[in-house]
């Protein structure tokens, strides 16, 4: 069985030894102990496993690790820079946009991708691009508010 021996994650090249058929989610979590991305459904329906691959929000549960190649992966663990949280992480904290927070990593990653594409998203933009992420605790109104706050505080940049 072909093996994957390295992945580019959060600005580092990390050695792994994983069957290429395994999901990226499982390799990140089980082999690299990057457990921020969560399993919620395994069928691309909940967004809890969202990571960025070359900036594109991607369901890591449905991504075979063998298909990732040299592409650059960013997980929730890679957002903090020099001890400073991403403005969206800050906004989640300020607004209290979570309850159990199991969805939070996926929400933040999807939200970061949205803000990169659309620095000043409208409510409709947010709803449309976040529709694939489930928060079973129902904190959607707060997540929308957090994304709007992050857009405002980063002055539409980032």
């Amino acid at each position: 069985m072909p093996k994957v021996t390295e992945l580019h994650v959060n600005g580092k090249t990390l050695g792994v030894d994983a069957d290429s058929e395994r999901s990226l989610l499982s390799v990140l979590r089980d082999d690299l102990d990057l457990t921020g991305a969560k399993y919620g459904c395994g069928e691309g329906q909940c967004g809890a496993c969202t990571v960025l691959i070359e900036g594109t929000p991607t369901h890591s549960c449905l991504t075979q690790v063998g298909k990732v190649g040299q592409k650059k992966i960013i997980t929730i663990e890679g957002l903090e820079q020099h001890g400073r949280l991403h403005p969206l992480q800050e906004a989640f904290l300020e607004i209290g946009a979570m309850q159990c927070a199991y969805c939070t990593a996926g929400m933040v990653m999807s939200g970061v991708a949205l803000l990169r594409r659309t620095p000043n998203p409208s409510r409709e933009d947010i709803v449309r691009s976040m529709e694939g992420n489930i928060c079973r605790c129902g904190t959607y109104p707060r997540i929308i508010a957090a994304i709007q706050r992050a857009a405002a505080t980063s002055g539409g940049a980032k």
């Binding site: 994983a18 069957d19 058929e21 395994r22 999901s23 499982s26 979590r29 089980d30 102990d33 990057l34 457990t35 921020g36 991305a37 969560k38 399993y39 919620g40 459904c41 395994g42 069928e43 329906q45 909940c46 809890a48 997980t75 929730i76 663990e77 957002l79 903090e80 949280l85 992480q89 989640f92 904290l93 209290g96 979570m98 309850q99 159990c100 927070a101 199991y102 969805c103 939070t104 990593a105 933040v108 947010i126 709803v127 449309r128 976040m130 529709e131 992420n133 489930i134 928060c135 079973r136 605790c137 129902g138 904190t139 959607y140 109104p141 707060r142 997540i143 929308i144």
Partner: protein, 719 residues
């Protein structure tokens, strides 16, 4: 020493629960608090006192009035470094009790939030706790911790008084120090406790809510940073050295038994261990992918028996109803005929309402990591009943509870769905066979199939109303869904309310507010129907028949903020109101919907909810709970239903079982009524009961069509 487990007196869901577990009576003398924590001050609360206090809460059932064994309720340690460690068996599942409990400790002890650490839900370290359910954390555990902390504060004042030979009346605790009001001397808590090993049991010296400075304020979620950075370790994130991944072979249908099994292809896979123990079949493998492949390679044949489908459900529930009332149950009220009036100018109404099974679908599925070290078992698992799961494990493996440790990391929600320990037992069984630690994470499909559901039910109401809007008779029968929230708060002289058990074709159990949602849906829909019958405004009609001042207050507050009585923005919009009471808290919900009759869709435009649960501990988290409950409740109200046929779940995935998403999110406004004169009660459940009837009433207002089955849309609306 062993006695039947005595669950919390307010725990109304007993018939759905596993509660045959023995009580672990732990020996106070054997526990050396200081060995683990170093010297300092320890304050203990004995639960006997708590049980006595709870009995004032009413709603006590047969068997629940007994005294609990003398047991620790909560305890707290103040170390030489001034660090306060609080121990409670409660579980954090997103209701943010880690924060609210920390707040009450900070309030009473007069220390900053940052110097308090809660150790929660670890059977080795925390006192016994029946479980985190029934909205009891705030009324029970917050009250206990307030007392424990207030006592600790008084102990520290005593110590300082002795140190300075001062009158304790001139001493006060503030910011982690004891300060002398005249000499301005001060000494830190840590310094005071230094070198001591002092234990003390509790007296009541708590601070009244009107004087609160930390409790009652919007303190942000404790450890919030760990959640937004992905650092927090939920159960599925726990790793232990040498750990394998487990998977369980699931039967072809509910109740199926194994006819034949060929596991050889799986056994031949390198690194795979196959376990068979009676009907239990599972595998372990070095990674998840291989474990899944190994399970798929097992050839099994199952003997199944025919079972009913969801289309026959409601006839089944009613037809098979045994018509028995639970003994010691306070639900059945006999009609009081003394106030019977002549039936002149009366309208009679008889209607039937139904609710479907719904799934909790917590985003973190059931999961466990189990590790045996010799004959000691440690299990990390997301459960609302760590001590109950410890009993399940001890029984399953026939070992004493002392040899089992259950640790519950802050968990990816539960909603009443994680009272049992299936994943824990399965992981432990696999780990014992593999002789290595094993992690087992249920798939979404397993979670949708092998967990339990919120009960389905049929509710029949017969009532009479006079022309002037006085409700004169009320007869209410609930089949299967349960007794919580069943009693009408309306002042109706002639009432009869009964709950009838039935045989449920699916495994059912607790769920956020449980039957209260069904009972409120039926009652508040029916009340609306009565108001229409006599052509009265639904809000005015409710107020006319209500004497309960707290329910009136929330209804009036919600209506005011909503702008009740204003004109519809367009004919396809409708307004609805509903009110209710459950678990010591009051809720009123006003909703605006827009209905598309051609597409048969309902859009929830706006929801205003007023909520009152005594003195508010954390207004922001209380609002968050209300918002979340409204959204979750919209799912059960409008589209969630578990479909089944012949012992199989037909929609065990998010692609087939629709849950609320971003696009469903309405404009929500929550109005909190903060009653500092009343004890705080829990708020994780009650905020969910108002939304379904408010939406049904709004849909009827928009269309004239009355929907009496949950979920409501788009059935019957399409033209």
């Amino acid at each position: 020493m062993k006695a039947p487990l005595l669950l919390d007196s307010s725990f109304e869901a007993e018939r759905y629960e596993l509660h045959a577990a023995p009580v672990y009576h732990f020996d106070l003398a054997r526990r050396d608090f200081f060995k683990v924590l170093g010297s300092g001050v320890v304050v203990l609360l004995l639960i006997e006192e708590v049980a006595a206090q709870e009995s004032g809460g009413g709603r006590r059932r047969g068997g629940f009035g007994q005294r609990r064994p003398q047991e620790l309720g909560a305890w707290l340690h103040i170390g030489e470094d001034g660090q306060v460690t609080v121990f409670t068996g409660k579980v954090e599942v997103g209701q943010n009790i880690r924060t609210s409990l920390t707040q009450v400790v900070a309030e009473e002890l007069r220390v900053p939030i940052s110097s308090i650490r809660l150790t929660m839900a670890d059977t080795e370290l925390t006192p016994y706790d029946a479980g985190t359910f029934g909205s009891r954390t705030t009324p029970d555990m917050a009250a206990q911790l307030r007392k424990v902390s207030a006592t600790a504060r008084e102990v520290l004042i005593d110590l300082a008084a002795a140190l300075w030979q001062a009158d304790r009346k001139s001493l006060a605790a503030t910011s982690g120090k004891i300060v002398h009001s005249e000499t301005k001397q001060s000494v830190g808590f840590g310094e005071l406790t230094s070198g001591r090993k002092l234990t003390k049991t509790v007296a009541d010296n708590t601070t009244p809510a009107v004087e609160w400075k930390v409790a009652g304020t919007p303190v942000p979620k404790i450890d919030g940073r760990d959640f937004v950075t992905g650092k927090h370790k939920y159960t599925p994130d726990v790793q232990v050295p040498g750990m394998q991944h487990g998977k369980v072979l699931r039967p072809a249908a509910f109740g199926a038994t194994l006819a034949s099994l060929d596991a050889k292809p799986a056994e031949a896979m390198p690194g795979v261990t196959v376990v068979r123990d009676g009907e239990f079949v599972g595998v372990t493998a070095p990674n998840e992918h291989l474990a899944a492949q190994a399970i798929a390679a097992i050839r099994a044949e199952w003997k199944t028996a025919p079972q009913i489908s969801d289309s026959e459900l409601f006839d089944h529930l009613k037809g098979k109803s045994a018509d028995v009332q639970r003994s010691g149950d306070s639900i059945a009220q006999k009609p009081d005929s003394s106030e019977d009036k002549p039936p002149a100018a009366e309208h009679k109404l008889q209607q039937t309402y139904t609710v479907a099974y719904v799934a909790h679908a917590p985003l973190e599925p059931r999961a466990a990591v189990a590790e045996w070290k010799e004959d000691q078992l440690t299990v990390w698992t997301g459960t609302q009943r760590p001590f109950g799961v410890r009993s399940e494990l001890a029984q399953a493996f026939r070992i004493p509870e002392e040899r089992v440790r259950v640790i519950v990391p802050d968990t990816g929600s539960g909603y009443g769905g994680k009272h049992t320990g299936e994943a824990a037992v399965e992981a432990a069984r696999l780990a014992r066979a593999a002789q290595k630690p094993v992690k087992l994470v249920w798939t979404r499909e397993e979670e949708f199939t092998w967990a339990y559901f919120r009960p389905a039910g049929v509710i029949e109401i017969t009532s009479s109303v006079e022309d002037d809007g006085t409700i004169t008779a009320w007869e209410f029968h609930n089949y299967n869904s349960g007794g919580s929230g069943i009693r009408a708060l309306y002042h109706i002289p002639n009432q009869k309310t009964e709950f009838h058990q039935a045989h449920s074709p699916l495994r059912q159990g607790s769920y956020r507010a449980l039957a209260s949602t069904a009972n409120h849906f039926a009652r508040e829909s029916h009340i609306d129907e009565l108001a229409r019958l006599v052509k009265l405004d639904p809000l005015g009609f409710r107020l006319k028949n209500l004497q309960d001042a707290r329910l009136r207050a929330v209804l009036e507050a919600a209506a005011k903020t909503f702008g009740w009585g204003k004109n519809k923005p367009s004919p396809d919009h409708g307004f609805g109101v509903a009110g209710g009471f459950e678990k010591g808290a009051y809720v009123a919900t006003c909703a605006e919907v827009a209905v598309d009759r051609v597409g048969g869709t309902v859009k929830v435009v706006r929801v205003v909810q007023a909520f009152e649960c005594g003195a508010v501990l954390n207004p922001d988290h209380l609002k968050n709970q209300n918002e979340g409950a409204i959204l979750m409740g919209m799912g059960g109200a409008l589209f969630e239903a578990v479909r089944f046929d012949n012992g199989k779940i037909l929609n065990p995935r998010f692609s087939r079982y629709r849950v609320p998403r971003f696009s469903d999110s309405p404009e929500i406004e929550v109005v909190l009524l903060d009653r500092k004169d009343l004890p705080s009660t829990g708020a994780g459940e009650t905020p969910i009961v108002g939304i379904a009837p408010a939406l049904g009433n709004a849909i009827c207002d928009a269309t004239g069509v009355r929907l009496r089955s949950l979920p409501m849309a788009p059935k019957a609306l399409k033209i």
